[in-house]
Symmetry: C2
């Protein structure tokens, strides 16, 4: 088994090698692609591909193209999402549409998604069709998730279930696909690969709910974002939707008051809504939900057809991703 | 051999079947896709795929997914190009970003490009890798062409050669790929398939230059667009770039005057620039260039390893596409 650090090193090197050889002209098409890939991120998804492969196969070279494809596709979705969300910054750097313009961002994103498929085309012919099918299905689901996310902004009566379905599409399925594709290329059988998909799905839900939780209850320093942003923007997260569901008439009026008024100072709104959350036990409900997804993940790891040593390695990797337990 | 009409009928039926079964929710993602596909177009590219296949194989069913993939991808590029060009109308109908909004147009375009790959994934495994590679290379070139096209708007000193390279990327390579992929799936050997690619490339250049020519010298009724649009918008077409290259000092001053002034009424500008074109023999130069590409196409058809009857069939199909000779 390669260490996670060594896997991450391989990813950085291979990403550089692929994108820094060729793909030069027109510069307005290819520079934004190198730019968004260079401003980092944790390379979580390609790490998951190579790790899953490595659990079944000492040789992970054959999984590199798929790992890069998934990282490329993920960054493409961020690039286009940033246009749609009108976000000026990402990872403390100007977004592509902000640094260049919308047209450059649309088109370089389009090119980036095609480059992801150029990488998929390098997958061993033995696995090409099945990897391509998983990749396509997942990519389309991510678009569906983003559309639901945008639709939800202007839709009343979104339920917690709607929200969970949306985040599953928007973020979890790609984690599922990363693990599954890695396992397939590593030579795992269908049952094992499907378990890996489920594992990624549960982790994705846990991560997203954790992100929601930390947005209100995290430490600004560790979280890396301003606390309370979701509350200020009325984002229909698990926390807010659960609160709306659980609130009595008086609490509901108070919540609605804060959601509808635009003249309240941000800090005041954050404190007021957080207080309602606290009264309704929302933080505990959220933590229980997150832990349930982590528990389910642990069960899936345990059920895999791997040595105890390898299961332990995988469990430890997952542990490092659990933001509250680092 | 199937008739062109029968091929076109198959395409319409199969497009409907693919896009009208499933792909329903979220509606804001999938409705725009059905919409842009429903407002027509000549289905030229999928016709080319099936025709090329049919020249080598009585059975064209196996080429249908690739044909639909190319039509889907083509319409995706139109959808995104319309956002970038800020075009309110296409084929006399509102464009997607105009009928919905920019975000819907970006995301449904993204989904559409993925759906093209879902169709590619249905290609027989025997040809999947090579078809996917051609498709990827072509798709990326189309993005490059669109970026050059946008770059050229704000770049001085664009040459005729730059322009020809740009239109080759933006429009011709997909016609080349349509023929080539069709031939490959039909079972043609590499030499034949490459010839088909070259054939599509030459036809694409001929069509685009013909479009440029007709934009100034066409008949508004048959051309379907207002005559002189390219002149009004200062579009750096083959005509304008050749004129700028051939003009003497006085003519150049006059041309530049019309390009730089914004206060001249459109009709006056069209007449003045057309007069300069006429003086410089631009219409004849353009027609010669177009005919050279059509002649080259005819030579390639002649060189194919097909019966005279089939060559004749292909030549007649090409003839129907020659706008001036209908």
């Amino acid at each position: 088994m390669q260490s996670i650090k060594s896997i991450q090193k391989i990813i950085e090197k291979e990403l550089q090698q692929f994108f820094n050889n060729g793909y030069n002209q027109p510069a307005n098409l290819y520079e934004p692609i190198r730019y968004i890939l260079s401003i980092g991120g944790k390379r979580l998804r390609p790490t998951m591909v190579l790790l899953a492969c490595n659990l079944y196969n000492e040789n992970i070279i054959s999984a590199i193209p798929a790992a890069l494809a998934i990282e490329t596709f993920h960054n493409f979705t961020l690039l286009h999402d940033d246009i749609m969300d009108n976000s000026p910054m990402r990872r403390s750097q100007p977004t592509v549409h902000n640094k260049w313009n919308n047209n450059v961002a649309i088109l370089s994103g389009d090119a980036m998604s095609i480059l992801a498929y150029e990488l998929i085309a390098k997958v061993d012919i033995k696995y090409l069709k099945s990897v391509l099918e998983i990749f396509n299905k997942t990519a389309l689901q991510i678009c569906e998730g983003q559309q639901y996310d945008m639709d939800f902004e202007t839709t009343a009566d979104i339920t917690v279930e709607n929200y969970l379905e949306m985040i599953q599409l928007k973020t979890s399925v790609l984690l599922g696909a990363s693990f599954e594709i890695g396992a397939i290329i590593g030579g795992a059988d269908k049952t094992e690969a499907t378990k890996f998909y489920e594992l990624g799905l549960n982790l994705g839900l846990a991560f997203q709910l954790q992100d929601d939780y930390l947005d209100t209850y995290g430490d600004a320093q560790t979280f890396g974002k301003r606390i309370g942003g979701d509350i200020v923007s009325n984002k229909k997260t698990f926390m807010l939707l659960t609160a709306l569901q659980k609130a009595n008439e008086k609490q509901l009026r108070e919540l609605q008051f804060h959601l509808n008024k635009t003249m309240i100072p941000d800090e005041e709104k954050i404190i007021a809504v957080t207080n309602i959350y606290n009264t309704l036990d929302i933080p505990n409900i959220a933590l229980q939900k997150i832990d349930a997804y982590f528990d389910k993940s642990a069960q899936i790891v345990e059920s895999l057809n791997l040595t105890q040593e390898k299961k332990q390695f995988l469990a430890e990797f997952i542990q490092t991703l659990n933001g509250r337990k680092k």
